[in-house]
């Protein structure tokens, strides 16, 4: 690792680069993945009697259903079952918070991804052919496609009592101070509209998996998902069976990013498995995945922000509209996190009022997506700060320096927060980035520029939501230290992170550790989301490892005859006076597995404040410096470099930390430059990866990640989750760099090259 003193003498700044991560892993798990030997949920073809399922989706974005006739489909070759709404024995609905999404629609469809029926057949082709033979009559309803008008239009959920039959699903306001008074004292006030896109997760493995009936009314699901326990509860309710009869194994999932947080293929696969008594696989193709899958909430916001003549932020107001699509999913929680970030949590502001409205439309369904509303808000907030700096005639970094919170300050919602480094240190390191001293070149065709933005990100579900997680450690019969958590492995390096923590805590080798994840039969760790798993893994292991080691040491003492005090854990077994006296296998053979196990569950750390907790306690920060080149000919933007400075506690597993920041950043670049699932009359205009453009190798910038780790020695939560941090500040850093290159400030994402060209031409005329 390259060490350097950070500018201003703040903290330990370490660059995570190839040298610091190379061979940091045994590579066992990685080699299996590279060789294609790891079985993903959609790889399970070797099940005897396997049938293939397919789901009939709505032909309309908004309509009443007047008839569904499956009789012809039942006669089709190879078909074993065709099911629709009246074949659902339990609840015909699901949803993590509000169960408002039907498994199968029977009265009304509210988006093009709505399911109406499903088929199980011997081959995928036969299943698809049978779908075409299902007859559905629709009576079209007006399509609600503009979120700004949604509240005045036909209500999608007329039984929605809470809002009196309007499309307003939720509204929320966060405020502090006397806003009118604060605005009246401002020297500069800026007011702008910002818009962010309906980004698609675009995980490489589309939604899929198998449901396997146990012959006694129960079902085992092997499926890509993010919360085995929660899914098992919902599925039991749908299947109309006892919770114990449903097991969910989230196996290895090929990417999720929030997009597999809700149930996807599970209800249809489970119902078909029970109906036919045979295992049923459903694997959505990309077209169906695009059409049905959740997206990031598009947000349209008007933001008004003011400061005094010295640059002190006084007043800040935001009015946002979030389009949640046809069903609630996690929309209300996304709204909360959006508003939390819209308060500009890194900065002291005398008074603010940020409010948002979450509306139903017929534009697909929006839900959890890495950043969870936060990065949409940060884009607008950071842009506003740049505008204020320009208005005052000072450097954007200077304006931030004046207003950044210090360690010890309360958070923006007056909650206690815990940083792992002073925000000023993160800013100082970003200001010292070598990208700033690279000369801006105007080659005639390419204009280059550098810009930056900052972001804060909290860990955990927040706002007093139930948030706990457990884990278990035992010695397997084969003599391996077996660690179990309920989290799903979808590529976030959680396995390596657990192995590293266990090796550090016990003193064993990587080969001594076995990690079992993602089964609803194992410990309930809560959802794999909200950057919470790393914190909980570390916390639970810190609690159970010493207890488990005491138990094992006591047992080893009885078996070996050596006193407990002299026994030490090491590679392969337990040692006395530097000599191995018992291997882990010998220890395992000398006792039953349950004798040498320990488990614990703990609540996610929340602010130790009185009353209902608000906001998030464990806070991370990032500053991202972007360098771009803008093509004067086409208006296309190339991001050539991204330099991140992060403060997120200690680094447990360097390759994972680096990979999370780099991966999230490129995802943020996609949102800034190319990605938007636009709809027309409720229909998506893109249906595959040749139209919806995610960044390729050649679009990806060179990146550098510097970690500022000033975590106090006595910090009880020294390890934080960084899965979402990297996306937080990328988009506003890119638009700041575009402004440095062209003089044009883009406030609508993704950047439209045509609009940018027009604005650049107008700018050149006025010069």
């Amino acid at each position: 690792m390259a060490h350097e003193n950070s500018p201003g003498g703040v903290g330990n700044l370490v660059t995570l680069d190839g040298d610091s991560i190379r061979n940091a892993t045994s590579g066992m798990d990685l080699a299996q993945r590279i060789e294609g030997r790891l079985a993903y949920a959609t790889d399970q073809r070797d099940l005897s009697g396997l049938l293939y399922g397919a789901i009939l989706r709505s032909a309309c974005a908004h309509a009443l259903i007047t008839r569904v006739d499956i009789s012809k489909a039942l006669e089709m070759p190879g078909v074993h079952a065709v099911i629709k709404a009246n074949d659902v024995p339990g609840l015909n609905c699901f949803g993590i918070v509000i169960r408002d999404q039907p498994v199968f629609c029977d009265e009304r469809v509210r988006y093009e991804g709505d399911a109406i029926a499903a088929v199980a057949a011997d081959t995928p082709e036969q299943a698809r052919a049978a779908l075409d033979a299902i007859e559905v009559d629709y009576q079209p309803l007006p399509v609600v496609s503009d979120a700004a008008l949604a509240e005045q239009q036909t209500a999608l959920h007329n039984s929605h009592e809470k809002h009196g039959g309007s499309n307003l699903l939720a509204r929320e306001t966060l405020e502090c101070g006397d806003l009118d008074d604060a605005f009246s004292r401002c020297a500069v006030i800026v007011e702008h509209h910002y818009q962010t896109p309906r980004q698609m997760h675009a995980f490489m493995e589309t939604e899929g998996g198998v449901a396997i009936p146990d012959g006694k009314g129960g079902v085992l699901f092997r499926v890509g998902c993010q919360s085995g326990h929660r899914d098992a509860e919902q599925l039991a309710d749908i299947l109309g069976v006892a919770h114990e009869q449903v097991t969910v194994e989230s196996t290895v999932t090929g990417g999720a990013f929030g997009g597999k947080d809700e149930l996807t293929v599970q209800p249809a696969a489970g119902l078909l498995a029970l109906k036919t008594g045979r295992p049923v696989m459903i694997h959505l193709d990309r077209f169906e995945s695009c059409r049905t899958g959740m997206k990031r909430h598009p947000v349209s916001v008007k933001m008004t922000t003011g400061c005094d003549a010295e640059g002190r932020l006084l007043a800040h107001k935001a009015e946002a509209i979030l389009d949640t699509g046809a069903y609630a999913s996690l929309g209300p929680a996304v709204l909360e996190n959006y508003l939390d970030h819209a308060t500009a949590p890194l900065y002291r502001i005398e008074a603010y009022r940020v409010s948002g409205r979450l509306v139903y439309t017929n534009n697909g369904v929006c839900g959890a997506f890495r950043g969870f509303g936060g990065n949409q808000a940060t884009f607008a907030v950071e842009s506003q700060l740049d505008e204020l700096a320009h208005g005052l005639g000072i450097e954007p970094a200077a304006l931030r320096r004046i207003n950044l919170r210090s360690p010890g300050d309360a958070g923006s919602r007056n909650q206690t927060v815990r940083w792992t480094a002073p925000p000023a240190g993160v800013l100082a390191a970003a200001v010292a980035s070598p990208l700033w001293s690279r000369p801006d070149t105007d080659t005639g065709r390419w204009l280059t520029g550098t810009g930056m933005a900052m972001g804060a990100q909290g860990n955990g579900l927040g706002d007093g939501l139930p948030d706990s997680g457990g884990g278990r450690i035992s010695l397997s019969p084969a003599g391996r230290i077996c660690v179990e958590f309920g989290f799903s492995d979808y590529g976030q390096n959680i396995v390596e992170s657990i192995i590293r923590s266990v090796c550090n805590g016990v003193g064993c080798r990587e080969a001594d550790v076995e990690v079992l994840l993602g089964s609803s039969r194992g410990p309930d760790s809560g959802p794999t989301s909200a950057s919470r798993s790393t914190v909980l893994v570390h916390g639970v292991l810190a609690s159970i490892l010493p207890r488990w080691m005491d138990v094992v040491r006591g047992h080893a003492s009885r078996v070996s005859g050596h006193p407990e005090e002299g026994l030490a854990f090491g590679p392969g077994g337990v040692f006395f006076n530097g000599r191995q006296v018992l291997s882990y296998r010998e220890l395992a053979e000398s006792a039953s597995p349950d004798e040498m196990a320990a488990s614990a569950s703990q609540d996610f750390p929340v602010a130790p404040d009185s009353g209902q907790p608000v906001g998030r306690y464990l806070q991370l920060q990032i500053a991202t410096v972007a360098r771009v080149a803008v093509d004067r000919l086409t208006g296309r933007v190339r991001v050539t470099d991204l330099h991140h400075v992060t403060a997120a506690g200690r680094v447990i597993y360097p390759p994972g930390y680096l990979g999370q920041i780099e991966g999230a950043a490129v995802m943020g670049q996609g949102m800034a430059l190319t990605e938007d699932m636009t709809t027309r009359d409720g229909s998506y205009l893109a249906d595959n990866l040749d139209q919806y453009l995610i960044p390729t190798f050649h679009d990806a910038p060179l990146q550098r990640v510097d970690v500022l780790d000033d975590t106090p020695e006595d910090d009880p939560f020294p390890v934080r989750g960084v899965g979402e941090l990297g996306i937080e500040a990328v988009a506003p850093a890119i638009t700041a760099a575009i402004e440095a290159a062209t003089g044009v400030r883009v406030r609508r994402l993704p950047v439209d090259p045509g609009d940018l060209l027009v604005a650049m031409a107008a700018k050149e005329q006025t010069l």
């Binding site: 990685l30 993945r33 493995e205 090929g254 990417g255 193709d285 780099e662 595959n688 190798f697 050649h698």
Partner: protein, 181 residues
């Protein structure tokens, strides 16, 4: 949807013979079936994966007579007389082992769903270089998408594989990753 629905005719199965990972195989399939489906239906090949089925994402990349192609765009009728290689058949290939070690040591993957496709593309690029081509390995992965990593580890792995003399002067046996125990 209409009252005029006709049951589609099931396409005729044909015996398709080709070489798969060095062995002659014959598969029964309609002539328009994709190589990707033919490979996956056997159950033995899982490294080629459906990502987009339009040739954009590269998750189904295989070698066809040594060239990297998306198997979702190759039809059964095109296969006779040709040799298909997948990661399952490359396990002892020194170029593949170099690629595997570079990807693993640089942590160039997260969920891993796209990774065998990247590996196939890189093996093809290295083979082209062996035959005197000056192809830039970054061009070999232009047809592969990864959503997890942001390509940082892949860039570092490609730098490693592009170093002068690599992989011939390096330990290409993959010993560092061979199974323990």
């Amino acid at each position: 949807m209409s009252d005029h629905y006709q049951v589609p005719e099931t396409p005729a199965q044909e015996n398709i013979s080709f070489e798969l990972n060095g062995e002659a195989v014959t598969r029964s399939a309609p002539s328009g079936e994709t190589l990707l489906d033919i490979l996956r239906e056997s159950g033995q090949i899982t490294s080629a994966r459906a990502g987009c089925r339009v040739g954009r994402c590269g998750a189904c990349q295989v070698l066809l007579d040594g060239r990297a192609v998306p198997s979702c765009l190759v039809m059964a009728w095109q296969l006779p007389g040709h040799h298909v290689e997948t990661v399952e058949g490359l396990n002892k290939d020194p170029d593949f082992l170099s690629v595997r070690d570079a990807l693993a040591s640089e942590s160039a993957l997260q969920c891993g769903y796209c990774t065998p496709g990247f590996a196939v593309s890189l093996v093809a690029g290295i083979r082209q270089r062996r035959q005197g081509s000056t192809v830039d390995l970054t061009e070999s992965v232009a047809g592969n998408l990864c959503r997890c990593t942001g390509y940082g580890g892949l860039r570092r792995a490609i730098d490693q594989l592009s170093a002068p003399g690599y992989p011939d002067e390096a330990d290409g046996q993959g010993a560092s990753l061979s199974e323990e125990q």
